[in-house]
């Protein structure tokens, strides 16, 4: 045990947890990393390429090494940073990326082959033979060079999303963030404060500095008490703001129950979209290390992290509290770690400072102008080599803190292509002026890292935000705090021949960067790809700037000339589950049910997804073993008796206004304004480019009242286009539009006995052919006074009607029609039979209106009226479209009972089957009970002049072909007598 005194842990609590199957205990307030260190566990993982033993490097979300598989079973989460995994009783974690045990990793052999895994390894090595790529190389690489593993089970937890709006969003709850939130909240602004930690305070929790002479936690507690009383302030702990998006929208993930064994009724995480008028970025800074030979052993960590472990969690990364600890630094801040450790009675080997004449801050051995040039210790640090004045000496040392200076966390300020700028005094990048609009960086993330400066700058940033919003800034008294200037040397890495790690997570060394330089991968974006520097889960938070410095040294350019790679969201890893928003399965997207859905379900219907709609596909009856049996029966029922089909899904648009007729003339290619009141007309709509895109009917219910119907698929599109035309193209027309698709349940009543059936439900309405002929429409009542609309239109070619009632009555009307039509052979039919009926009749549907067809191809060329202009009319006459000679024809197999496949291509007999000789294709095909065989529709070159010709339908994918006879596209009642009967 290496627990020290003090710390922000609750020693009265005892949490039991396991790591690689072994049980340990920790306390409330621990992270997994601090608890493991407290138990003397330093070895926490294996490195990515070389499988080198690794321990924890950092104390926050920047951690590159200590990644574990957290939890077990389906809840296993790979690549979880032990440094941010909040400890709870019952936590289960496993180390990852190892073959065998963590202490003996068989793939540790990779380390001996390091020369092969140098920069550009992937690009150079696995190029050939090509056939080996998928079968051999990829699985091998995936196995060897991986991070954690997925459970391969479905995630059992729930995820949520939400939306918040505020005046000021404060990102980060350290000194600057707390001062900003306090200032903005006291001003009365709507404020949200987010921090990724489970406890507010940021770096204040990790330091021994006092505020107003008292521990910083006193001030934080007072503040938290005040926050509780401010209804305009929302404090969100365990919430990481991971990205800045357009228009002041920030993405944030709240880890609602990552710190409990199982979420129970709660969600695991929530994705928040926060719309903020202004934001204060108080993201702090991340310490960088100084690469030196063999600097990756467990026990070597960032100096600031070592201080954080000692102060906040009361642990050291040693195996015994008696072991000596050393500090390697190029700046004053490193000395603080030594002082804090000394105050907790940790034995200090000394401070190794790269600067000649390094300052002294306390009573410890100071190695001025010295460097650490090597380490020993198989699974953890045991000795370090200190070189001073060219003389090297080995020293027993159990832990080494490395302080290379602090990099402001410019990440979010560099979204929206903001470019960080180099500060020669700070020797680091700071946020540029071209970052996201409305985002004001403050505190350590602009380089103002002393506690006093951070507090003041946070308050100042809030003041700027408030002023821009026209809110008065209150006077806020900030506590007295340390304001020590920190001097630093321009010293980036220890020169040497052995491997010195820059990027721990990706196993990138100084030598790799040097090799990349030799191979001319000098631009920073190339360097990143060639060496994998700064990739994967930590995105190089502790390594990027050091790597740039090394490359700058090699090229002789400055660091700012070398430049940074582009910063993109997310700041830290975000699970796909939380981005998915929660619902899976049936509620993944909206599902629309027809008004007769309940009834259809009770009849055992099979349903099919049609866009968002669930439509009855067919209604199997007892004894039917194959869907075709059901469909054939339903089709025949319509041809000989009467069939019923819910057609509510077809779009309906109510069009009113004095200019409604003129408006429709311009929307439809054919004349529509002239349809008489009480009549329906078939209409065709073209796109702007002249292709046909939708067809349907238009009923005129009154002098200035029309109802447009669309196809199911295009209901939304047609309505949108109509709205666009009304508002933007012809605002001078008096037209009012509104969708009524859902308002009316519409049932097709089709078949020779449809009139007989309808006569049984209408209230005193004359349905005779004279009184209500084909293409008539009327408003009437049915079933004793229910308002309804009746249209005499036919998709099947039979005598047919569509009857509409308020949607809530659709279910009952369907049941009533079935009941009253029992003696007439009434049968429900689904979309399959609907399809067969319309193919038999030669009616176009989605397969024919596929966006590549002209009115002429559909045989509807004359429907593009030359007497008026309409959308797409002019473009439909352009040569390329007008010249298209393909025409819709009927197709019937010759001498074959094989199934005709839609999608087959058509060829003249005796020609080769190629693109050049292609004559068209089969758009729709089905088995026709009426014909007694397969039939199809298709587009054929000059099809209208090739009746009775035999052609070939080729299905090259399956290697089959079939002879077809070209016939008129009306297999049923070509004269159209039945529907006019």
């Amino acid at each position: 045990m290496t627990r020290l005194s003090g710390g922000l842990i609750d020693r009265n609590s005892s949490f039991s947890f396991t790591f690689d199957g072994k049980t340990y205990t920790g306390h409330q307030g621990d992270t997994l990393a601090s608890a493991l260190l407290a138990n003397g566990v330093r070895l926490m993982g294996r490195s990515f390429k070389y499988h080198r033993p690794r321990g924890v490097v950092a104390a926050g979300s920047e951690e590159p090494n200590a990644m574990v598989e957290l939890r077990s079973g389906a809840r296993t989460e790979p690549n979880t940073r032990a440094t941010v995994a909040e400890l709870y009783d019952g936590l289960v974690a496993k180390s990852q990326n190892r073959t065998g045990s963590l202490a003996f990793d068989a793939l540790g052999v990779n380390d001996y082959f390091a020369p092969f895994f140098a920069a550009g390894f992937y690009y150079k090595t696995f190029m050939w033979p090509r056939a080996f790529w998928e079968k051999l190389y990829e699985p091998m690489i995936r196995r060897a060079a991986g991070l954690g593993r997925l459970s391969m089970q479905a995630d059992p937890d729930s995820y949520d999303k939400g939306f918040l709006h505020c005046d000021v969003l404060v990102i980060g709850g350290g000194a600057a963030g707390l001062a900003a939130a306090l200032t903005a909240a006291r001003a009365g602004a709507q404020v949200i404060l987010c921090d990724e930690d489970f406890r507010l305070g940021g770096r204040l929790l990790a330091e021994s500095h006092r505020l107003d002479g008292a521990p910083a936690t006193d001030w934080i507690s007072t503040l938290e008490a005040e926050f509780e009383t401010l209804p305009n302030l929302r404090v969100m702990r365990r919430t990481t703001v991971f990205g800045v998006y357009d228009h002041g929208i920030y993405g944030a993930v709240e880890r609602v129950s990552d710190h409990v064994v199982e979420p129970g009724n709660k969600v695991r995480q929530t994705l928040w979209r926060i719309t903020a008028k202004r934001a204060v970025l108080a993201a702090g800074a991340t310490e960088r290390h100084i690469p030196f030979a063999d600097n990756d052993r467990p026990g070597v960590m960032l100096g600031g992290a070592m201080r954080a472990y000692a102060n906040r969690w009361a642990v050291t990364p040693t195996q015994s509290a008696k072991d000596p600890v050393a500090i390697f630094t190029n700046n004053d801040d490193g000395h603080r770690t030594a002082l804090d450790l000394m105050s907790k009675n940790v034995p200090i080997l000394g401070v190794i400072d790269s600067r000649e004449n390094a300052p002294r801050f306390g009573d410890y051995d100071l190695f001025s102008g010295a460097m650490v040039t090597g380490t020993k210790g198989r699974l953890g640090l045991r000795d370090i080599e200190i070189t001073k004045g060219g003389v090297a000496s080995w020293h027993r040392c159990a832990a080494l803190g490395v302080s290379g200076g602090w990099n402001p966390n410019v990440h979010l300020a560099s979204h929206h292509r903001g470019r960080p700028v180099w500060d020669d005094t700070l020797l680091s990048f700071v946020p540029g002026a071209d970052g996201p609009a409305g985002l004001i960086p403050a505190g350590a993330c602009v380089g103002l890292g002393s506690t006093a400066k951070a507090l003041a700058d946070g308050a100042k940033a809030a003041g700027i935000a408030l002023a821009e919003l026209g809110i008065k800034t209150p006077e806020v008294a900030l506590p007295d705090a340390e304001d020590m200037p920190v001097s630093q040397a321009d010293f980036w890495h220890v020169p040497g021949k052995k491997r010195a790690w820059v990027d721990f997570q990706n196993d990138v060394t100084v030598k790799d960067i040097s090799l990349a330089h030799k191979e001319n991968m000098k631009p920073v974006e190339h360097l990143k790809r060639w060496t994998t520097l700064g990739m994967a889960t930590d995105q190089g938070k502790t390594s990027n700037v050091s790597a740039l410095a090394v490359m700058a040294e090699l090229t002789g350019k400055s660091i700012p000339q070398t430049g940074t790679t582009i910063f993109r969201p997310p700041y830290t890893g975000v699970s796909l589950s939380v981005l998915g928003g929660g619902d899976t399965g049936v509620n993944f997207r909206p599902r629309r049910l027809t008004p007769t859905h309940t009834w259809a379900k009770s009849q055992g219907a099979e349903f099919v997804e049609v866009g968002q709609w669930m439509r009855a596909q067919y209604f199997p009856q007892a004894g039917e073993t194959d869907w075709r049996e059901s469909v054939d029966r339903e089709t025949k029922a319509v041809r000989v008796g009467v069939g019923l089909c819910d057609v509510t899904t077809l779009g309906k648009v109510d069009v009113q206004g004095a200019d409604a007729g003129e408006f429709l003339n311009r929307m439809y290619s054919n004349m529509m304004g002239t349809v008489a009141v009480g009549k329906v007309r078939y209409g065709l709509m073209l796109r702007e480019d002249g292709f046909a895109y939708d067809d349907g009917t238009c009923a005129r219910l009154g002098e200035d009242h029309y109802v447009v119907t669309t196809t199911t698929a295009n209901a939304g599109l047609v309505y949108r286009n109509m709205e666009f035309a009304r508002q933007c193209l012809w605002p001078e027309l008096d037209v009012q539009l509104i969708s009524t698709t859902d308002a009316w349940a519409q049932i097709a009543v089709a078949g020779p006995k449809s009139r007989l059936l309808l006569e049984r439900v209408v209230d005193e309405f004359d349905l005779s052919n004279d009184a209500f002929p084909f293409m008539g429409c009327a408003e009437l009542t049915v079933c004793k006074g229910l308002r309804a609309r009746l249209f005499r239109i036919s998709f099947s070619g039979e005598l047919a009607y569509e009857i509409a009632v308020p949607a809530r009555y659709g279910n009952a009307l369907m049941a009533r029609l079935m009941e009253l039509g029992a003696d007439l052979g009434a049968a429900p039919y689904g979309t399959e039979a609907l399809g067969v009926l319309r193919i038999e009749k030669g009616h176009a549907a989605g397969a024919e209106l596929n966006g590549q067809t002209t009115a002429a191809m559909l045989g509807l060329g004359r429907m593009v009226s030359a007497k008026k202009d309409s959308i797409g009319a002019v473009m439909s006459r352009r040569e390329g479209l007008a010249r298209d000679a393909r025409r819709l024809v009927g197709l019937q197999p010759v001498g074959s009972t094989e199934r005709l496949m839609a999608g087959s291509h058509l060829f003249t007999q005796g020609t080769a089957h190629s693109m050049e000789t292609d004559q068209g294709w089969v758009t729709s095909a089905c088995y026709s009970p009426h014909v007694g065989g397969y039939i199809g529709l298709g587009y054929l070159e000059n099809g209208d002049t090739r009746m009775d010709e035999e052609i070939i339908a080729a299905n090259p994918i399956e290697g089959s072909e079939m002879r077809l006879r070209v016939v008129p596209a009306h297999f049923v009642d070509p004269e159209g007598e039945r529907l006019r009967d």
């Binding site: 709507q190 968002q612 859902d742």
Partner: protein
């Protein structure tokens, strides 16, 4: 009166009610709805003696509620009149305007809170990208909710109505119920 038996948007013969902590969801199939759109150049009428509300607003007088929908367009609600031809009643009030029956184009779900405004605000925050704090009594707007287009009406500090497309009411109910259930603790 017709002898057909209507069903609600959720497929039942009676309105569905579910309570989650402070929040109750109730299907409101009795609410009639009709759209009112002005003809070009028409002066703004006062149906049922009411002043038509400004954008983003809802007003109520007796059993009639009106909310703004688009430029020169409103939705008119009538409590307990869904079985009538309410569009005809409204047309008689505004004979010059275009009126369209919308009762079954939509389905209303009324949400009530037993603990004042806070649960309603928390629910809104989980569902829609609007400034929930500013959506006070008398506010109405159209927005997206789980990929569905809905109208929201803040009938009172502790009451919220959601009008969703009738055909997707099952999905809408699911979204509302799941969000309400997750707020049971507050």
């Amino acid at each position: 009166m017709t002898d057909l038996t209507p069903i609600t948007a959720l497929g039942g013969t009676i309105a569905r009610v579910e309570t989650f902590g402070a929040l109750s969801l109730t299907e409101n199939p009795a609410m009639a709805l009709a759209s009112l759109a002005l003809r070009k150049g028409q002066s703004v009428p006062s149906p049922f003696g009411m002043t038509l509300p400004e954008p983003g607003k809802w007003t109520k007088s007796g059993a009639i509620g009106v909310y703004w929908m688009a430029k020169d367009q409103w939705m008119v609600e009538a409590e307990g009149r869904a079985e009538e031809d309410f569009a005809r009643v409204l047309k008689a009030e505004v004979p010059e305007a275009s009126v369209t029956e919308q009762t079954d184009g939509w389905a209303a779900i009324e949400i009530t809170s037993s603990k004042g405004a806070a649960p309603i605000k928390a629910l809104l925050e989980k569902l829609v990208n609007i400034d929930a704090g500013a959506f006070t009594q008398g506010s109405a707007l159209r927005t997206g909710l789980d990929h569905m287009s809905v109208f929201l009406i803040r009938r009172a500090e502790d009451r919220l109505a959601v009008w969703g497309m009738r055909s997707s009411t099952e999905t809408l109910w699911h979204a509302l119920a799941v969000a309400a259930r997750r707020l049971e603790d507050i």
